[in-house]
Amino acid sequence: MDFWSFIVLGVISFVLLTSASAAMSLSNLIHCALCLVLSFVCIACIYLWLGVEFLGFVQVLVYVGAVSILVVFTILLTRRGFEGEIIDFSGTVLLGPVLILPVLLTLWWAVGSLPTPPDHIKTPVAHVAQIGIELGGNESGGGHYILPMLGVGILLTAALIGGASMASSKRRKEEKWN
């Protein structure tokens, strides 16, 4: 890892941690949501830094494009006003460090117990086509994950059709109500 690459990772990590802590501690919920979006973007940047473009762009597409909108919609639809409220700190906040410590220790142990890769092994370059072949397979092989892929595909399509049918059934309910 060269010097500039290290600096870039440092900056991304700093922004990520700062925005994530801001998302937890700001009093205005919308500001929290926007900080959360910034941390999602930083995670995408880390993926890009690692050279996994596809994952980085999908992270932006799904988390910044969809999940964040879901979060802000939920905040706006469930609160009467959109003014910020001060969230009181309770005594349970002290439990945080106590819980974090074992998690960090476990992570430290897990990372430390990994075998160090020899220097001559390069990071594998995963092309999108290779990922696709590995997941879905083609004439020459692959397709080890075809069943889970199909399962996820059917689940998502069912959710989409369900959404469309809910949209039409809501109308009937409203008509009855009227």
Binding site: V37, V64, G65, I69, L76, L160, A164, A167, S168
Partner: protein, 418 residues
């Protein structure tokens, strides 16, 4: 000197220009002290990055002005009036006058507004619109970045627009802005699904997410005059139709311009914006329109390929530009022709018509892909027949269903007003 006479050189003109600028910079280094020579590669790479960014900003911001002019003049003609005709010859300098007006206008921010978010929203929107241009192949030798998953990058860039509209609506501290932003978000999210569903068949058939490979897949002609563009297949035609309608909604264009419906919501999320911030929103909307047309051309209309073999002598970027202007003209034409939809009609159209049709279109594309290996006599007719029958039947059934539902509740009930 061969530059003007040789067709190939005209095609390579962008590359030559790039080389020329880089050469000028490397010659400049000869005049500098030797201690600075170490920085030459860094400066060269910086210059080549600028050579990508500057033309994109320059060309598309100019095109923005041209499209605004085209729209105002075109709408004027369609509505039997002259359109702008005071500033410059034939009113051609009207965009410049508009720009100056916007620049020198006072920037008003509501006292209770969230100033930082209010400022960031238009910047983020313009950034999202501009960044999408970087993966579109504008010509044979005109591709800013050749990304392997360029299509995902394009749609990821679009994610910024949703967020910035919400930021604009919420930070203005105005109920019309907030309501307008929420309506806009509901619309954008609903139409993003058919937009992406309509591109899935293209990715399936081209077996790639790379725009340049998708364009390369559409090369070639049947009998010299019928291009192998994806729009010339049944699934491609329906896909392009879905894509075009969804892109009208994604860019808040008429007949889906509800987010800025002046008569209902004042101006939606733009209510509290004035001056240059408003101009940025306006520009971002047009840039999004241009970029979505460009990606539509790349996916369905053969990218920079000529429509028939005889016209291949014209450089590829001219073809791309021509197709782009044609699609932009379609946007303007539709604005002058179709009335605005109601919000429930808009949502019903996305969820009950476009999404089911998009899903069926993916199935038809899968059938098309599998039937590519057919080689018995008349296989082409059978393939076309099955695909057209399935898509046509589905189109008619969905249209009937949508129509029945809307006529069943034709007596509109008003809950809050009589």
């Amino acid at each position: 000197m061969n530059l003007l006479t040789d067709r190939l050189d005209l095609e390579k003109l962008p590359l030559l220009l790039q080389q020329l600028v880089l050469d000028v910079f490397s010659r400049l280094f000869h005049f500098l002290p030797e201690s600075l020579l170490a920085y030459e590669p860094a400066v060269k790479s910086l210059v080549s990055i600028f050579l990508v960014i500057v033309p994109i900003i320059g060309v598309f911001c100019t095109l923005f002005a041209v499209v605004v002019m085209m729209e105002r003049k075109g709408l004027g003609r369609m509505q039997n009036r002259l359109g702008p005709n005071r500033v410059g010859p034939f009113g051609m300098l009207q965009p410049a006058a508009d720009g100056i007006k916007m620049l020198i206008k006072e920037d008003i921010v509501p006292a209770n507004a969230d100033h930082l978010v209010h400022f960031l929203a238009p910047c983020l929107l313009v950034l999202g619109s501009l960044i999408s241009f970087s993966v579109i192949p504008f010509g044979k030798n005109l591709l800013p970045i050749d990304l392997e998953c360029g299509l995902v990058f394009y749609f990821a860039g679009g994610a910024a627009s949703e967020l910035s509209i919400f930021m604009a609506g919420w930070s203005s501290h105005n109920k019309y802005s907030l309501l307008g932003a929420m309506r806009a978000l509901a619309q954008l999210l609903s139409y993003e699904i058919p937009l992406i569903l309509s591109t899935v068949p293209v990715v399936m058939l081209a077996s790639s997410l790379e725009p340049s490979r998708i364009v390369a897949h559409q090369a070639g002609y049947t009998a010299w005059i019928i291009p192998h563009w994806f729009v010339c297949t049944p699934w491609g035609a329906i896909g392009f139709l879905l894509f075009f309608i969804a892109s009208l909604a994604e860019t808040n264009r008429s007949p889906f311009d509800l987010p800025e419906a002046e008569s209902e919501l004042i101006a939606g999320h733009l209510t509290e914006y004035s001056g240059f911030k408003y101009a940025l929103f306006f520009m971002a909307e047009y840039l999004a329109m241009i970029s979505i047309s460009a990606i539509g051309i790349t996916l369905f209309l053969g990218g920079w390929h000529a429509p028939c073999k005889f016209f291949e002598f014209i450089p590829s970027y001219f073809w791309f530009g021509g197709k782009l202007l044609f699609l932009l003209w379609m946007f303007i034409w539709i604005r002058a022709t179709v009335p605005r939809l109601r919000i429930d009609q808009l949502m019903a159209f996305a969820w009950k018509f476009m999404i089911p049709l998009g899903l069926v279109n993916i199935l038809v594309a899968a059938f098309w892909y599998k039937s590519l290996s057919w080689n018995f006599e008349g296989h082409d007719f059978l393939r076309w027949g099955i695909a057209v029958a399935v898509l046509g039947g589905c189109y008619c059934a969905l249209a009937r269903l949508l129509n029945e539902k809307s006529t069943a509740s034709s007596k509109r009930t008003y809950r809050y007003a009589e």
